[in-house]
C-alpha cells in the first residue's frame, strides 16, 4: 500500500513550523515568521518537502494552525492551535493532563482528556506573560534570548521585577542595571515575573499532573525552572517544544483522513500548489 504523508503547518507570531509525518515525524523545519515571511509559509513547506525528499503531490492532507493559519492557502483545513497542541502533546507525552504553552505572542493553558482539549485559558491581551516580555527585556539588557535562561540560573540574589507590564518591566530593568545589580539576578527576577504571571493564569484550570511545557518558552531553561518551582514538581518537555502544534496538526490531518476512510467519504483537498498567501498583496 502506498505510504500516506501528512503535513502540519504552524504559523506562530515568531516562528513558522512545518512537520511532515507518516507513522512518525519524518522531517520538520522551523523558520522565522517575521513581517516578510508572514506570507511565505509556502517556502517553509518547500524546504520541508525537499528535506523529506517528497513532492507536494505526495502529501495526503495538510492542516494549518497557529494565529497565522488563515495565511496558508494550500492547507486542506485550518484547526485552532489549542486543538493541535492538545493532539501533539497527547501523542508525544501521553501522561500529560495539562499543557502550558508559552509562545511569542500569547501563552495558554490547556486541560487534556484522552489527548483532546477539554478546557483552556489564554493570555492574548498583554505581552507580560508571553515570550514578548523576555524579548523586550533581552534587548534592554543586551543579552541574547538563547543565553537568558542559562545566565538566570547563576543568580545569587534574585531581584523582584514587576510582572504587570512589559514596558514598565523594561524600565525597571534599566533602573536595576544602573543600580549595579548583577545581570543573572535581574534575569532570575524576570523569569520569576513571567512564571508568576503564567502560573496565575493557568491555575484557573485547576492544574493536574503531569504538566507539559511547550512553545518557545519551554526552550528557556531559566523559565522552565521558574515554572517548575511554581508548580512544585518537574514538568514534562517534548523533544522539540516548538513543534508540538505542527505535529498535532499533522496528526489531526491523519485522523481526518482515517475517519473519512472509515465512513467511506471522499475528502476534499486543496489544489497541490504552493502559493503565497494573497491576503497581504
Amino acid at each position: 500500500m502506498k505510504s500516506q504523508y501528512f503535513a502540519g503547518v504552524d504559523i506562530g507570531s515568531t516562528m513558522t513550523k512545518v512537520v511532515i509525518m507518516d507513522q512518525a515525524t519524518i522531517t520538520s523545519v522551523i523558520g522565522p515568521t517575521g513581517p516578510e515571511h508572514r506570507k511565505l509559509a509556502n517556502r517553509v513547506m518547500e524546504e520541508a518537502l525537499a528535506k523529506a525528499n517528497l513532492s507536494f503531490d505526495e502529501i495526503t492532507y495538510v492542516v494549518a494552525t497557529g494565529y497565522g493559519r488563515i495565511n496558508v492557502p494550500f492547507a486542506d483545513k485550518q484547526i485552532t492551535e489549542i486543538s493541535c497542541h492538545a493532539r501533539g502533546v497527547g501523542h508525544l507525552l501521553p501522561a500529560a493532563r495539562t499543557v502550558i504553552d508559552i509562545g511569542g505572542q500569547d501563552s495558554k493553558g490547556i486541560k487534556l482528556k484522552d489527548g483532546r482539549a477539554v478546557d483552556f485559558v489564554m493570555n492574548d491581551k498583554c505581552a507580560a506573560g508571553t515570550g514578548r516580555f523576555l524579548e523586550v527585556t533581552a534587548e534592554e539588557l543586551g543579552v541574547s534570548l538563547e543565553d537568558m535562561g542559562r545566565l538566570s540560573l547563576e543568580a545569587k540574589n534574585r531581584v523582584e521585577i514587576s510582572n504587570t507590564c512589559t514596558v514598565f518591566a523594561a524600565q525597571e530593568v534599566v533602573a536595576r542595571l544602573s543600580e549595579g545589580v548583577a545581570l543573572p539576578d535581574i534575569l532570575a527576577g524576570l523569569h520569576e515575573a513571567i512564571a508568576t504571571r503564567i502560573y496565575g493564569m493557568v491555575r484557573r484550570l485547576k492544574i493536574e499532573r503531569e504538566v507539559a511545557l511547550t512553545g518557545g518558552g519551554a526552550k528557556n531553561i531559566g523559565l522552565v525552572k521558574a515554572m517548575e518551582a511554581k508548580l512544585g514538581f518537574p514538568a514534562l518537555l517534548p523533544p522539540e517544544p516548538l513543534l508540538t502544534g505542527a505535529i498535532g496538526a499533522a496528526l489531526l490531518g491523519k485522523d481526518i483522513v482515517r475517519e473519512a476512510a472509515e465512513k467511506g467519504e471522499t475528502l476534499k483537498v486543496s489544489e497541490r500548489r504552493l502559493t503565497e498567501a494573497s491576503i497581504f498583496t
Binding site: 494565529y67 485552532t80 492551535e81 489549542i82 482528556k113 477539554v118 483552556f120 489564554m122 492574548d124
Partner: protein, 445 residues
C-alpha cells in the same frame, strides 16, 4: 474640545426575530421622546434599570432617561470614545465603569457647551429634572455616578435609594426576616414618591400606580413564558436578540407597550417553533450566556458563534423577571407593598433550592437550572474590565458550578461594555474557535 472624526458605524447585527429588529427604532423613539419632553417642560428623571422605581415613574407621568442605555447606544454606534476621553480630561479614571464614564463625559460636555455635544448619537441625552440613584446591587456607579454628575448640574436634585433584599445564607430561612425588608422598602418607595412630588410638578396618581403594577406583573409573566419557549430545539431566539429585547423589559416596564412587545414575541416564537425555524439551521452547540454585560460594540460576535453552529438559548444577563405566579406573593391592597413583596420574593426565588445543595448559592442554582432546562453544552461569560461589581462573583459562580454540579466547558471573554479600545476582534474570535473545539471534544467523549 474639538470635534473628532466619528468612526464608521458597523454593519448591523443580524437578528433572528422580528421583535428584536424593532428594538433599535424603539430606543431611538424613546430618546426622541426625552428631547420632546424637555422642549415641552415635562419632568425627566435620570434613572437606572432595575431600581424598582419603574411603575412609580410611569404613574407620575415622569419621563425616564436611562443613562446606562445611552452609554450603551454610544457603544453600539462605536462613538463612545470621545465621551470617555472627555471624562478622562475631567480627571475621572479610565478604570471607572465606562457607562458612568461615558455619561460623565457626555453630561460635562453638554453642560460646558450649554447644548448637545456635536452630532450626538441619536440626538443626545436631555438634561434631567431629577436624578434617581439606586445602590442595591453593589454597583457603586448606581449612586456615585449621579452624585458626580451633580458637580456639573448642581441645580438638579439627586435621590439615592436602594431597595434591599435578604442576602443568601445557607443556615437561615429568609422568611424569618422578609417582613422587615418589605416594611423598609415600602418606606423607601414612599420617600421616593415624596421626593418626586417635591422636585417635579407631578402628584402620585395611586390608581394609575395600581394599574402600572398590574401591567408589569402581567409583563413579567409574559416575558417568562416567551423566554421559556427558547428551550425548543432548534432554539428560535438567541442571546444576541435578548440583548435587544432587554430594552422593553428594562426601560418600559409598567407600560402596555412592554406587555404588547412580549406578547408579540411570544406569538412569533410559537410560530417559529411550529415551523422548526431556529436561529441557525444546523444547531450543534447550545450555550448559556452565564453573566457579564455584553460588549455593545461587538454584538456581531453572537453571529460569529452562530456561524460555528452555536446558539444561546438562555442568558443570565438582563433576565430580570420570574413568573409572578410562582413567587408566592401575599395579596395586599397597597401597590407599593406589592412592589416590595415582588422585589423580596424575586431575589429570594432560588434560596430554598440553593440550601439543598451544599456549596451552592442562588446564582449558581440559576446557572444549573438554565443548563438543565435549556439543554446547555457550555457556558460563556464576559469579564468587562470596567464592570467591577459583577466579575469577582462571576468567576466564583463558574468555579462553584463546576464544583457542585459538573465540569462543563466554559469560556471567559475579556473586553468592556463601552470602551472599544479593550477589544480585539481577531483574538476574541480565536478564543471562540478554540472554545468550539473544546465543546466538540467534550461532546464526542
Amino acid at each position: 474640545m474639538t470635534e473628532e472624526k466619528k468612526p464608521e458605524e458597523r454593519k448591523k447585527r443580524r437578528t433572528a426575530t422580528e421583535a428584536a429588529s424593532k428594538v433599535g427604532p424603539m430606543v431611538k423613539a424613546a430618546l426622541k421622546e426625552n428631547l420632546r419632553a424637555k422642549e415641552e417642560g415635562r419632568p425627566i428623571a435620570y434613572s437606572f434599570i432595575f431600581s424598582g422605581y419603574d411603575e412609580i415613574i410611569r404613574a407620575m407621568d415622569i419621563v425616564p432617561a436611562w443613562t446606562e442605555n445611552y452609554a450603551g447606544v454610544c457603544g453600539v454606534k462605536r462613538d463612545a470614545q470621545r465621551f470617555l476621553e472627555k471624562a478622562e480630561s475631567e480627571n475621572f479614571s479610565r478604570s471607572l465603569c465606562t457607562y458612568a464614564l461615558c455619561g460623565l463625559g457626555f453630561d460635562s460636555w453638554r453642560e460646558e457647551l450649554g447644548e448637545m455635544p456635536p452630532d450626538p448619537p441619536w440626538g443626545g441625552q436631555a438634561r434631567p429634572t431629577v436624578m434617581l440613584g439606586s445602590g442595591q446591587i453593589i454597583c457603586d456607579p448606581r449612586y456615585k455616578w449621579y452624585q458626580a454628575v451633580q458637580h456639573y448640574m448642581p441645580d438638579v436634585p439627586v435621590y439615592v435609594g436602594g431597595l434591599p433584599y435578604p442576602p443568601y445564607e445557607d443556615d437561615y430561612d429568609y422568611r424569618d426576616v422578609q417582613d422587615y425588608y418589605v416594611k423598609y422598602i415600602v418606606e423607601e418607595l414612599r420617600d421616593l414618591v415624596a421626593f418626586l412630588e417635591k422636585h417635579t410638578d407631578r402628584k402620585m396618581d395611586w390608581d394609575r400606580l395600581a394599574e402600572a403594577v398590574d401591567i408589569s406583573d402581567r409583563t413579567w409573566n409574559m416575558i417568562s413564558e416567551a423566554y421559556d419557549l427558547r428551550k425548543a430545539v432548534p432554539c428560535p431566539m438567541g442571546t444576541g436578540d435578548a440583548m435587544n429585547t432587554m430594552v422593553p423589559m428594562t426601560f418600559m416596564m409598567g407600560t402596555q407597550e412592554a406587555y404588547d412587545f412580549f406578547k408579540d414575541l411570544y406569538d412569533e416564537l410559537k410560530i417559529k417553533i411550529a415551523n422548526k425555524e431556529g436561529v441557525i439551521p444546523d444547531e450543534k452547540y447550545r450555550l448559556l450566556w452565564g453573566g457579564g454585560l455584553p460588549s455593545w460594540f461587538a454584538l456581531t460576535d453572537f453571529n460569529y458563534f452562530n456561524s460555528k453552529g452555536a446558539v444561546f438559548p438562555a442568558e443570565v444577563t438582563y433576565r430580570l423577571v420570574e413568573p409572578v405566579y410562582e413567587l408566592d406573593l401575599p395579596k395586599v391592597s397597597d401597590p407599593l407593598e406589592h412592589l416590595a413583596w415582588r422585589w423580596v420574593k424575586y431575589w429570594s426565588y432560588r434560596h430554598d433550592k440553593a440550601r439543598k445543595r451544599p456549596g451552592s448559592n442562588p446564582d449558581v442554582e440559576r446557572l444549573i437550572e438554565y443548563i438543565e432546562d435549556y439543554k446547555i453544552d457550555g457556558v460563556v461569560m464576559h469579564e468587562a474590565f470596567s464592570c467591577r461589581s459583577w466579575h469577582p462573583g462571576l468567576i466564583w459562580q463558574l468555579n462553584q458550578l463546576k464544583r457542585v454540579y459538573r465540569d462543563i466547558p466554559s469560556l471567559i471573554l475579556e473586553s468592556d461594555i463601552v470602551d472599544i479600545s479593550s477589544y480585539n476582534e481577531a483574538d476574541t474570535r480565536a478564543r471562540i474557535d478554540a472554545f468550539i473545539d473544546t465543546l466538540e471534544a467534550v461532546k464526542s467523549q
